[in-house]
Symmetry: C2
Subunit: 200 residues, 2 copies
Amino acid sequence: MPRPRSKTRDELVQSAMWVFWENGFEGTSVEDLVSATGVGRGAIYSDFGGKEELFFACLTEYLETFMAAAIETLRSDAEGLDAISDYFDYFIGLHKKRGMPGPGCFIANTMTELAPHLVEAREKIEEHMEMLRRSFLRSIKQAAKKQNSKKGDKELNELARLTVISTQGLWSYARGTSDLTALESFKRSFLTMLEATLGR
Amino acid sequence: MPRPRSKTRDELVQSAMWVFWENGFEGTSVEDLVSATGVGRGAIYSDFGGKEELFFACLTEYLETFMAAAIETLRSDAEGLDAISDYFDYFIGLHKKRGMPGPGCFIANTMTELAPHLVEAREKIEEHMEMLRRSFLRSIKQAAKKQNSKKGDKELNELARLTVISTQGLWSYARGTSDLTALESFKRSFLTMLEATLGR
DNA sequence: ATTATTATGGAACGTTTGTTCCAGAATAGC
DNA sequence: GCTATTCTGGAACAAACGTTCCATAATAAT
């Protein structure tokens, strides 16, 4: 008996996600969202309550779909540094598809724009960073074992966090340059560094 | 004969710089600037023409004073990796003084927020990144020589760029965490990695 | 003191912002 | 075909935005 929706809630979130990802929270107006999603203002407010709630729904969607798939590359077939290489390829592939300067990482963008002033955003981001760090740690431990590394647990943990932070830097950098090869070059150098460091 | 200024143009830029640095371009209203600088709206428009022009003046000020001093740490007394360590300390010291979550790096913030959509910002940033890369390269070459590294010029160049990107990641990260020790930990790990990589 | 000159800061501008609201459109069951 | 239900999208809103403008204040020169 209800009138059917032209777009489901999930479809709306997915369309809006790209807009927020590219332009940030402040850089996106509700008008932008309306014209990008093809949905009326009423729908946004009846479904989410406001721009900020929609933004957080998009952030969650990003974590649960896009980012989850990226992390999945760290847990699938490849092992050790090869897995980390796959993680890079996943993001670089996106930028190859979307063109440069690219969208970067939605989480990294939000960290820069909102985290200092919005506790809610900061908590969500810190939680995600922890998950990413643990996934990197797993691959790094595999690599350390394979190389008979003498590094202790504490050092491997620090390397995992360093990988998280450096990686966020790369995705930020991807928003500021037109040079796609810089991303490939970073990946190569970073893996070389990791290998050299573990081989001690 | 003219009425003297309550604040010189340079003082205005310096006050405004901190506001833009903390809150970004979109996140800062002209009202914010007025109350932060203690200057009337008229002054902003007669001196700069508008919000965007003032923003770029602040970006330039940041590069010429704050960032120039940071790069100076790479060229002064310390050599090789010690110089890079000093560069880290310079920024970490700022965050120690200002409190966490910190302001990060004005350039890195602008790269994330404006670079994809504003060519003018992108060019200014790319130019600065090049300068920073060359400065890192100088220190890295010193370190390579000291360690009798077998790395070729191409690899050292890639390491310098990686250092730029990773570092930007750290300053972004500083906006999203309350944990100051994470910055110190990153510095330590990163220098360890650089040393291990060069010693090959 | 008077005048000439220039910065000042608040009033007022038209837009654009995020949000609210509701008449009407669109379907499912009868 | 009619009714009940609920989603739709544009009209309308106050607030905030960036910007313009000008009477006023404040000095330096006369």
